[in-house]
């Protein structure tokens, strides 16, 4: 594994740095800056700001609005927000793993498995002609639905079970990485392949519908809606009522806030960073490396499961392929665009929030331009490369300013 900072890294061009290069370099004694530096300082401050990607998103929207007037409509804004929340929860989990210089490729498969498990448990009915030949038929699922159908607090029980399963998957990932010292990439890649296949096998690639109303409300339930129509009409026309504060928003924002505190302001978070910055030094300084690494993978899997639950509720369907396709690209792409380093030790939940916002906006605008799915992915790929480059540039700038 590579740890950010512990290696020599790229040859540093001396002109970028504010201090002499080489081992003799001491803290720069605040060199007297020529006037031209002040402007670049201001640019640097923007580049290094925690809100940089938010600025970038706003700039992006501002530039596109003249060409894409639909972008700023309440309907579209509501859509952008609703796309943002599940992705944000999953990306928050990924942020923790990236901070320890790991990666969790299994998040998509965890989301897919979550989707099928919760539907299996909660479905209120199931058609035999579709699901009758699946391995779960009769065992978990019958014409009358899943085992928790109609059970009091069944929805909450089901959610608890599913999150526990996800936690176990995270535990297995974490133990393989921390105790068996296997590379996170391999461990979670294998988990991705195996768990996706397992989820698809469970329902023979079929979806499960007929989810109970209280669960579906989790994906769609609206707490505050905004009305932009004619105030005087007696009846509100449905088209002009737009969900603003929804249950997914409450869930995602709560997860993000807790994660922000956990990663940025607790002993646990400090240790997560220490492992990402220099695992050996952390271990020698008494950081319980195994415990922290395992916990981080548990957090990642549980976040993936919560994201999976939100998607499932929104789609009103248990779908085994939920986390397939480019899901992983979106998660890791959004996190890295936010500024979290793939080399570990550099992350902020706030960055991830902006990264997800930017990524969702990007997908949304490309959709509005009527680009095909292929074009959208091509552009997204390009944006990730640009973000990776920007990350390198920011890092250099940061060192120069340090």
């Amino acid at each position: 594994m590579t740890y950010f900072g512990s290696t020599g890294g790229l040859p540093r061009p001396a002109a970028v740095k504010g201090a002499p290069a080489g081992p003799d370099a001491v803290a720069p004694a605040d060199p007297g800056k020529p006037g031209s530096r002040r402007q670049s300082d201001r640019l640097g401050a923007i580049l290094l700001s925690d809100y940089f990607v938010l600025y970038l998103s706003l700039f992006y929207v501002a530039v596109l609005i003249p060409f894409l007037p639909t972008l700023a409509t309440p309907a579209n804004m509501s859509n952008v927000l609703s796309n943002m929340w599940p992705l944000l929860v999953v990306a928050v989990g990924q942020t923790f793993v990236l901070t320890i210089a790991g990666i969790d490729l299994s998040q998509g498969s965890v989301a897919g498995l979550t989707s099928i498990l919760i539907a299996m448990l909660l479905a209120t009915a199931a058609p035999a002609q579709v699901l009758g030949h699946t391995p779960i038929w009769g065992l978990m699922l019958t014409e009358a639905g899943g085992p928790l159908a109609g059970v009091a607090y069944g929805t909450w029980l089901g959610i608890g079970i599913v999150l526990a399963v996800a936690a176990l998957i995270g535990l297995a990932n974490g133990l393989a990485v921390a105790v068996l010292k296997m590379p996170a990439f391999m461990v979670t890649l294998v988990a991705l392949i195996a768990l996706s296949a397992f989820a698809i096998w469970l329902t023979q690639s079929n979806n499960i519908r007929e989810l109970p109303a209280d669960f579906v409300a989790l994906g769609k339930g609206t707490i505050v809606s905004l009305f932009f129509g004619d105030q005087h009409s007696a009846q509100l026309p449905r088209r002009e009522v737009h969900a603003f504060v929804t249950w997914p928003m409450i869930v995602a924002v709560s997860v993000a806030v807790v994660a922000h505190v956990l990663l940025g302001h607790t002993v646990f978070g400090r240790r997560v960073f220490a492992i990402g910055l220099n695992r050996r030094a952390a271990e020698i300084s008494g950081v319980p490396v195994v415990r922290i690494v395992v916990l981080v993978f548990v957090i990642s899997a549980v976040c993936a499961a919560i994201g999976g639950l939100l998607y499932t509720a929104r789609l009103e369907t248990g779908r085994p392929t939920l986390g397939g396709g480019n899901f992983l690209l979106d998660v890791i792409g959004a996190t890295v665009i936010g500024g979290t380093s793939l080399f570990g030790g550099k992350a902020k939940i706030l960055w991830t929030v902006w990264g997800v916002l930017f990524f969702v906006l990007l997908g949304n605008t490309l959709n509005l331009m009527n680009l095909s799915a292929f074009h959208i992915d091509m552009v997204k790929g390009g944006v990730i490369i640009a973000a990776a480059f920007l990350d390198v540039a920011r890092q250099r700038l940061r060192r120069g300013m340090g």
Partner: protein, 503 residues
């Protein structure tokens, strides 16, 4: 005097701040010139200017009588200048031969002619007295041998000037002796050498001339015969340093604080038994591979041990680093970059790392940053760490000596009773060395036990109450500092360390 390299009023500024200013220096052909100076004195910048890494802001250079203005490192190489850096520039996964010919193989029918290359390489290796086949992989060589391969690479390019930057930091005493023989051989062949080092006695023994840099200026220069160690230090730090070592402020008590009994791990250490008293600095001397660093790792629970016990302050210790820290052990490792510090984290976070649990408040363990800052500020004053903004400045931007103080501050926060210092002054300049010695004395005077591991005999004899010698995983001898006789028997110490290895 025929000068091979002449620097004429060379200045290198970074954003208006001079790192090297107005430096005029002549490097005579066929001599070994030692360049010394504290960290930050401008040695590396000067070498980067000579090596074409950065252009000088002002001034001119002449090499072999012609104007010399390298635009890139390749120009320096082409002109006949070779650098042997602290961190070697070798491909360890390739053979010696591949490394020597990395820039171009001899060709035969358009293909690389390995046989011809092997013949050349063998000759080079014989000249340097390396007894390895040219096809040996570099990763299978000892650090000292690798350095000689780097020299072989330079000789293959028939260079006129070879610049060594701290070449002995990772070498054993024997390898160092061998390197010096090679450098003397280079001088006999008429080649010119610039030798940068912190080890002043080496400079005295090896060089013909000495140049001292301070704050980017040449402050002293002349034939080595005019330079005693005292003058070198005075020139380097710009003030008188009465002694290399601080006086010990208190004598050790009679009370045993640390007791190792029969620690054994097959192939690593064998029946290690000794004790350290309160207030005692116990030196552990041994060559590389003697088991001294391995013993430190066993003490700290990083490596397994098959038999034996370790008692600190009356309690048998066990478990990993976390448990050992709470049992009162601190471990300043030999390579602070890899094992001691989070280089990109701020100073304050490094200082609190081992005790971060104590900063937790409430069930979530919310960090108390005020306390963290206070602890760091206290450590800054206490250890005179030179750093401006402790909560923001990354440790990476501190000098080696200050980095080492941050490591020590981290352990001081955990209030340990046993300090294991493994090569604590490696890569640290003279002034900071003195401060680290003074710290070791303070730790001992406060009633703690200090295990001081080093391959520099001077610092052990200068600081320790007792010195144990390790050889092949065993403690082979122990030497006391008699109250009436302030010095150790150096010959006997060295003999004990080399015993059997020599035979």
């Amino acid at each position: 005097m025929d000068a091979l390299l002449e620097l004429d009023a060379v200045t290198k500024e970074w954003f208006g701040v001079p790192a090297v200013s107005d430096l005029t220096l002549r490097i005579p052909r066929g001599e070994v010139v030692g360049i010394i100076g504290e960290n930050g004195a401008g040695k590396s910048t000067l070498m980067n200017v000579i090596g074409g890494v950065v252009p000088p802001t002002r001034g001119r250079m002449r090499f072999k009588g012609a104007d010399y203005a390298p635009a890139a490192p390749a120009d320096a190489t082409g002109a006949g200048i070779a650098f042997i850096h602290q961190e070697l520039n070798l491909f360890t996964n390739l053979s010696i031969l591949d490394n020597v010919f990395i820039t171009g193989f001899p060709r035969r029918f358009g293909l690389a002619d390995r046989r011809a290359a092997a013949t050349v390489t063998r000759t080079l290796l014989e000249r340097l007295d390396i007894r390895h086949d040219p096809e040996t992989l570099v990763e299978d060589l000892a650090p000292g041998e690798r350095q000689l391969v780097e020299i072989a690479k330079a000789l293959h390019r028939s260079v006129d000037l070879i610049i060594f930057d701290e070449p002995t930091t990772s070498l054993t005493p024997r390898e160092t002796v061998r390197l010096f023989e090679v450098i003397s051989g280079l001088r006999r062949e008429g080649r010119t050498v610039i030798y940068i080092s912190h080890i002043l006695s080496d400079v005295r023994a090896l060089c013909d001339r000495v140049a001292v840099l301070r704050d980017g200026r040449l402050v002293d220069e002349g034939p080595v015969g005019d330079f005693g160690i005292a003058r070198m230090i005075r020139s380097m730090i710009g003030r008188e340093l009465s002694s290399l070592f601080p006086p010990r402020s208190a004598a050790p008590s009679e009370k045993v604080l640390v007791q190792a009994r029969g620690l054994s791990q097959p192939g690593v250490v064998e029946d290690i038994t000794f004790s350290i008293r309160e207030g005692e600095i116990l030196g552990l001397f041994g060559l590389m591979g003697s088991g001294r660093s391995e013993l430190a790792r066993i003490f700290f629970g990083l490596d397994p041990v098959a038999e034996g016990s370790l008692i600190v302050a009356g309690r048998a210790v066990s478990g990993g680093p976390m448990a050992r820290i709470s049992d009162g052990i601190a471990f300043v490792t030999e390579n602070r970059r890899e094992e001691g510090l989070l280089m990109d984290a701020p100073v304050a976070e490094n200082i609190s790392l081992a005790t971060v649990e104590q900063l937790g408040r409430g069930p979530l363990g919310l960090l108390d940053r005020d306390v963290e800052r206070a602890v760091a500020e206290r450590a800054k004053v206490d250890l005179s760490i030179r750093a401006s903004d402790l909560s923001r400045l990354p440790v990476r931007s501190l000098s080696g000596g200050n980095q080492q103080k941050v490591v020590i501050a981290k352990w001081l926060a955990a209030a340990p009773r046993l300090f294991i210092l493994d090569e604590p002054t490696r890569g640290v300049d003279v002034g900071a060395k003195y401060e680290i010695y003074a710290l070791a004395d303070r730790l001992a005077a406060a009633g703690n036990a200090v295990l001081f591991i080093s391959s520099e005999l001077e610092e052990l004899t200068g600081m320790c109450d007792r010195v144990l010698v390790m050889n092949r995983g065993e403690i082979t001898a122990g030497f006391d500092r008699a109250p009436d006789m302030p010095h150790f028997d150096r010959e006997a110490l060295l003999a004990a360390a080399f015993r059997e290895v020599v035979a």
